[in-house]
């Protein structure tokens, strides 16, 4: 078994604000991330796939197909967009990096078998860095 990891980048803005809490409670909970007009990050996304190496091609999977899936499902809808206002999944859900990881994993997993049918590689996990100082992982 081999695990291959590909790194992608996108820039997006967000605001952390829970609708059920008061303004004071939101400020206490989210700090600067609650500032009313939002702010942005350069996110780094790692997507790992795992499987058997094909004896002839020496590859675990089609990297171009992975790139296309991530571009269509994550980079195009998220990059240079406001997550709260432009990504329907975050209209009601707070776009913390935890929720962002769950949303990205769900987008990739939902279309995985269409892109990698049969013996293709499995989705092994994703990792998101919101800044250089924090990292969130969701492992399959």
């Amino acid at each position: 078994m081999i695990r291959l990891t590909r790194r992608y980048r996108f820039c997006a803005s967000h605001r952390l604000h829970a609708a059920g809490l008061s303004d004071a409670e939101n400020r206490a909970l989210y700090g600067k991330c609650n500032n009313p007009h939002g702010h942005g990050h350069d996110y780094t996304l790692e997507v790992s796939v795992s499987g058997q190496v094909d004896a002839e091609s020496g590859r675990v999977g089609d990297l171009a197909a992975l790139d296309t899936l991530v571009r269509e499902q994550v980079l195009e809808p998220f990059d240079h967009h406001d997550l709260n206002k432009e990504v329907p999944a975050f209209a009601e859900r707070v776009p913390t990096t935890e929720n962002l990881a769950i949303e990205i994993r769900s987008r990739l997993a939902g279309r995985w078998h269409r892109v990698f049918p049969g013996e293709g590689p499995a989705l092994d996990g994703i990792r998101i860095q919101e800044t250089k100082r924090n990292r969130f992982e969701l492992l399959d």
Binding site: M1, I2, R3, L4, T5, R6, R7, Y8, E56, G58
Partner: protein, 138 residues
Amino acid sequence: MLITRRADFSASHVCRLERLSDEANRALYGADSNPHGHGHNYVIEVTLEGDPEPETGMVFDLKRLKDVLHREVVEPMDHRFLNLEVPPFNTVVPTTENLAIEVWRRIEPHLAGPRVRLHGVRVYETEDLYVDYFGGQP
């Protein structure tokens, strides 16, 4: 406990299957199939798993690990064209996957001991693409 040592080397390679046409190779490997090859600054991370020896406080002598990496991997591969100069890549396509497996095969026999074993090999082809191999059926 896991301990990891990093090393790097620069090499050229080309990924193509001779039985396929240029178009089919391009569809399979993209720009990696360009016939005259291209290069990367490869980074390898080698991770050992073991318990510190009570007297020395070390899992493994890192100088020895550095020497093994240099002798088995860096020296034979640095500034070489992998397909032409580094077996088995005259017959095995030097993808990042196969490179990780080959690094494991070269170093593993030199790193086994009563309290230590090779845990994993990570090969970065670029900052944005890396492969992990943990031994066993690849």
